[in-house]
């Protein structure tokens, strides 16, 4: 199975503002005890292990259990670490080891609060029809399927 080239894969960006300071938001992203509380795929999941060696080259790891008792693991390596400003890390599911996506979190002070920008790039859909060389053709298939099935 060949994966689309990184430039053909989808990427997403998000922006949010929070009343908390950049230091507080940074802590939420870098303290394993905080990550256990909020960074899980669904509320029904529980995170049993959270590792965050927040330095360039350091390891990030989340071991979690779904509501049905299935284990899932996400791991990554920190690429850029600028405290209270910028965090860049790779993001890989243990079940899809060949696919490494890149997560970028940028924090900017906004008054007493924080403006957060998140970019997630280079991920591949866990769908065989998308994971072929013509990534954008796969995207078109996905769109058509969603639109015509009324989902």
């Amino acid at each position: 199975m060949t994966n689309p080239a990184p430039e053909d894969r989808p990427s997403l960006s998000f922006a949010r503002t929070y009343d908390s300071s950049p230091e507080e938001v940074w802590r939420a992203w870098t303290d394993p005890e905080a990550l256990k509380v909020w960074l899980k795929p669904e509320d029904a999941f529980s995170i049993s292990v959270a590792e965050a060696e927040v330095r360039v080259g350091g390891r990030f790891r989340l071991l979690m259990i779904s509501g049905e008792g299935k284990e899932h693991e996400i791991s990554g390596v920190y690429r850029e670490v600028i405290p209270n400003r910028k965090l860049v890390m790779t993001w890989t599911w243990k079940s899809a080891p060949g696919v490494e996506s890149l997560l970028t979190v940028i924090l900017r002070p906004l008054g007493a609060g924080t403006e957060l920008e998140l970019r997630h790039e280079g991920f591949v859909e866990i769908d065989d029809r998308i994971t072929h060389e013509d990534g954008w053709k796969g995207s078109l298939t996905l769109l058509q399927r969603h639109l015509t099935s009324g989902k």
Binding site: F14, Y18, W38, E121, S139, L143
Partner: protein
């Protein structure tokens, strides 16, 4: 990377919500085609068909170029990628996580005061 503006996404999904336009995009996914060739399989007047092409062009999904006397249509991949990314499970994942992060941060503030 093109950021997905709300208006841009609206235009793309509106363009895709028609079977004739989806058929045009499918034809073009195999390669460029002249307008007349694209119009051929569809049971409608050429002006009627051209309206569909305009909707696709306005959404940034196709580009038209004149080569001699022939008008060629080509698919533009970027808006499709942007729209598909919007449908990604990661869209839901991060939207929800960032909401939960917001609630977590509020709780932390409360427990400090």
């Amino acid at each position: 990377m093109v950021k997905s503006s709300a208006a841009g996404l609206d235009a793309v999904f509106a363009a895709l919500s028609d079977s004739t336009r989806r058929a045009v995009l499918e034809s073009l996914s195999e390669g460029s085609h002249p307008v007349t060739e694209l119009a051929h399989p569809h049971d409608m007047s050429l002006p009627g068909f051209m309206k569909h092409l305009r909707v696709l062009e306005d959404a940034g999904l196709i580009e038209r170029s004149k080569e001699g006397r022939v008008v060629q249509c080509t698919l533009s991949a970027e808006p499709i990628r942007v729209a598909a990314a919007w449908l990604s499970p990661y869209q839901k994942f991060w939207t929800e996580r960032l909401d939960v992060l917001g609630r977590y941060l509020k709780q932390q503030e409360k427990s400090k005061s």
